[in-house]
């Protein structure tokens, strides 16, 4: 090692932080070099002076001051956490109970404040499969009003279309239709408006027994008409037009069948013009109860009453008979042709203004 390197290592040598080889080299060089010996001695003296510095005592209050600040810090940190959770054996059960109570309360509030919505009745498997085979796209119940109007327009134009179809296949169709196909024809509500209107107007003057008998007779007549040969059936075509039949479904484009399926899923909307709306409402409620249905919701707007009814689709006929007895009935949405299970019905009772 050279002289400069030895001098640089003297500080490490002083702390015994050199390797044995370096130590031997330094000692060998220092023995022959007075300058390095002097430098080493001065370094030792310097270190001795520095180490001789007396320790300074901190002020006696310093510990207390430090701990006061530490406690202040600890209180700030602990404050919110302790307030929330300590003592654990008391606060945790209370918080758990509170959470359960809040959850149950929130559930009940949401359940009771929601509008009276009943679960939608799923269409029967048969109807659903038919709609699926007719259209690859699933029939969505949310159709635009324009599409509904288009369906109705097509239904109105259908007699003209069917005239162009050869009647021969229809003659052969004397096989009795299944109950789902025949049932809509038996419903008095599905008759064309031109024929139904005089009947409804006259219904106010008829007794309920007569009304029921008339309704039954009409449904029987409809069944006979379906079973009749084509020429005979053509004479009663206006009644048959709105009843779904197998051949019409074959003639319809697939998308139309799907749209009709969607339309049928809508609630039946009825408007009853009665002289005493309040009394009519009570009678309707009684009739619904007798038919095994239930009033989901009642609303009153000035003189008009709105009844939201849920009942078996097969018993809708009976309700219509009662309504016809109470006043003039108008339908906004046609009743379901092949409905099964529960059926949602909206009945609007409008009072007939009395002339002074």
């Amino acid at each position: 090692m050279e002289h400069a390197a030895i001098q640089f290592k003297l500080s490490d040598y002083l702390d015994d932080a050199v390797t044995p080889e370096e130590k031997a080299a330094i000692e060998e060089h220092s023995a022959a070099c007075p300058e390095c010996r002097k430098a080493l001695a001065e370094l030792k003296a310097t270190r001795r002076h520095v180490q001789s510095l007396a320790e300074v005592d901190p002020p006696p209050w310093l510990t207390g001051k430090i701990m006061a600040r530490v406690r202040e810090q600890a209180d700030q940190r602990r404050g919110l956490f302790q307030w929330l959770f300590y003592p654990l054996h008391i606060k945790l059960p209370m918080e758990a109970l509170g959470l359960i109570f809040l959850t149950v309360t929130a559930y009940l509030i949401v359940r009771n404040t929601q509008p009276g919505m009943e679960p939608l009745t799923t269409p029967s498997k048969e109807v659903y499969e038919r709609a699926q085979t007719a259209s690859p796209q699933p029939a969505t119940p949310l159709e635009s009003s324009e599409e509904k109007q288009q369906i109705r327009r097509r239904a109105e134009e259908r007699p003209m279309v069917e005239k162009s179809v050869s009647p021969a296949p229809r003659v052969d169709k004397t096989v009795p239709l299944d109950s789902s196909a025949a049932k809509p024809a038996a419903q008095p509500g599905v008759a064309p408006k031109e024929t139904a209107a005089p009947e409804l107007q006259a219904a106010g003057k008829m007794k309920p027994e007569e009304m029921a008998a008339k309704a039954v007779g009409r449904s029987e007549m409809a069944q006979k008409q379906i079973a009749m040969p084509a020429p005979a059936a053509q004479a009663t075509r206006p009644l048959e037009e709105l009843a779904p039949s197998q051949e019409r479904k074959e003639a319809e484009p697939p998308t139309l069948t799907a749209k009709r399926f969607a339309l049928e899923a809508q609630p039946l909307q009825l408007t009853l013009h009665a002289r005493d709306a309040a009394a009519a409402g009570i009678k309707i409620e009684e009739a619904v109860a007798e038919l095994g249905g239930k009033i989901v919701k009642k609303e009153s707007l000035e003189n008009t009453q709105l009844l939201f009814v849920q009942m078996d689709a097969k018993k809708v006929d009976g309700l219509l008979v009662t309504l016809e007895h109470l006043g003039e009935v108008k339908e906004k949405i046609l009743p379901a042709k092949e409905a099964e299970g529960n059926r949602a019905i909206t009945i609007k009772i409008v009072p007939i203004p009395t002339s002074p």
Binding site: D12, T46, H49, V50, S52, A54, V56, L62, V70, Q73
Partner: protein, 194 residues
């Protein structure tokens, strides 16, 4: 093995008494380290308080990879270093001083009359040895001062100093050599022969 493991564990659980034990154990040592670096007693009191408070706040994150004393010293050195920078910054930015030369009408500056006081090394001779040594230490650059204080006054090993200052051991050796040489020269100038 760290002697303070139990107290540190208790502190992590929120035991203030355990932390107080640590304060009492290391307060004087941290005070002396900070005092030798700053050279100011009042500032040192503030530095030590802040350092212990910071240690309490951060004790949850102390993983025990180094000794607690090493970790605490590192915090104290940082606070002392920052305080020293503030003090030096203040001195540097003092724009006017009563001892500054006054401007003259001709644009020149009046200078103080030649002082009759003896030069610096003569003043140092009048003080006792300890004051001279402290003054020499105060005159060191902060990096050199820290190494000298930690090694020659607090007897930390090179490795511990390396961990405290977060510099390699070679840097510690180099700084220590320079610090000792500077103090040696300063003392030789102040006291003559060592």
């Amino acid at each position: 093995m760290d002697d303070d493991t139990d107290q540190v564990s208790s502190c992590k659980k929120g035991d203030l008494a355990a932390f107080e034990q640590l304060v009492r154990k290391y307060e004087k040592r941290m005070f002396n380290i900070a005092f030798r670096i700053t050279g100011d007693y009042e500032d040192t009191c503030e530095i030590v308080q802040d350092a212990f408070l910071a240690a309490y706040r951060g004790i949850a994150s102390f993983r025990g990879q180094a000794k607690f004393s090493t970790w605490l010293t590192s915090i104290t050195i940082n606070y002392a270093r920052n305080r020293l920078k503030q003090i030096q910054g203040k001195r540097r930015h003092e724009q006017f001083s009563l001892e500054d030369p006054l401007p003259k009408a001709d644009g020149g500056m009046t200078t103080d009359p030649q002082s009759n006081d003896p030069p610096v090394h003569e003043l140092l001779e009048k003080r006792d040895t300890q004051s001279k040594v402290q003054d020499c230490i105060n005159a060191l650059e902060p990096d050199f001062k820290e190494v000298l204080v930690l090694r020659d006054m607090q007897d930390f090993s090179y490795e511990e100093i390396s961990a405290i200052l977060k510099v390699p051991t070679g840097t510690v050796k180099s700084r220590l050599f320079r610090a000792r040489e500077a103090v040696k020269d300063c003392l030789k100038q102040a006291m003559g022969e060592l």
